[in-house]
Point group: C2
DNA sequence: ATCTTACTGAAAATGAATGTCAAAAGCATG
DNA sequence: CATGCTTTTGACATTCATTTTCAGTAAGAT
């Protein structure tokens, strides 16, 4: 699966005339190895640990590329840090965000997706993507 | 309706030991008179036009208070500006965001709300609020 | 009217994200 | 494998939204 994504990225890169560099390989690798919803800072620190040479500007730049390539997407929570999550082809998931411990639970619901499409059609709207975040307290934090 | 909200804010203010000031009155007034989804900058400019004395720090501070009071909520789009929308008690609406012209269409869907609750229950999650944004092209921009 | 404490405005500070630019690296070519 | 052209990079500067600071002002209880 990780291999597929690397191939996908290479394809994207060549189609755009981008070059394949050590930095991009490393960043993609480490991004893919992280849990969902990494902030740039988290990712940068992780990268710096094994590859001290790579600068954060490059991490920022590469993450944008991953978004363009359809491998990652940005999520904005309410802590002022942009986070990036993995995009699985065709699949979509949404988030339960715990405001107590900041943990994120993912879920998927086909019925909601269908309803969204209906709503879009009703408004003559062409959906590109969407995000849904439910805020509250997780089981652990309710006590 | 605007009056109700002012009362609600006063109630909140006294319950928290906050003082009632001219600035807060003005900001709440003008916030309530705006369309949905004002950015702080937009609101600040509007306020400055009629009340040149009020500083933007106060606008920022007061908007946070409105959120605490349950009268406003933050929305994060992808343009680096936090926006605030009106919160109607009990009611909830979501957004179709056009990436072509940046217009926002609101909608409400009871079935989706119900499904969200089911999902929350299934995960032992206590919902406080939620956001859903669907990105794409509006009817006008599809052409 | 006085006193305490919260509030405000202006300016400085912060912090995420982006831009700049010279040096380095990719990669097509001879 | 040297050459030359172009993209990419890292370090640093810059931008821009938001937050903090702080001295002065104003609420509102007594």
């Amino acid at each position: 699966m990780i291999l597929e994504k690397k191939k996908a990225f290479n394809l994207f890169a060549t189609s755009k005339g981008l070059r394949s560099t050590r930095q991009r390989d490393v960043i993609l690798d480490i991004f893919l190895s992280t849990h969902q919803h990494v902030s740039v800072e988290e990712l940068y620190l992780k990268i710096k640990a094994s590859n001290p040479g790579i600068g954060q500007a490059t991490v920022y730049r590469t993450l944008k590329l991953l978004v363009d390539a359809g491998l990652a997407s940005e999520i904005l929570l309410h802590d002022g840090q942009t986070r990036y999550e993995h995009v699985m082809a065709g699949e979509h998931h949404d988030h339960l965000v715990c405001t107590g411990c900041n943990s994120i639970i993912e879920f998927e619901d086909e019925t909601i997706e269908k309803l969204q499409n209906e709503i879009a059609v009703r408004h003559g709207f062409l959906i590109k993507n969407h995000k849904m975040e439910i805020y509250g307290l997780c089981a652990g934090c309710r006590k």
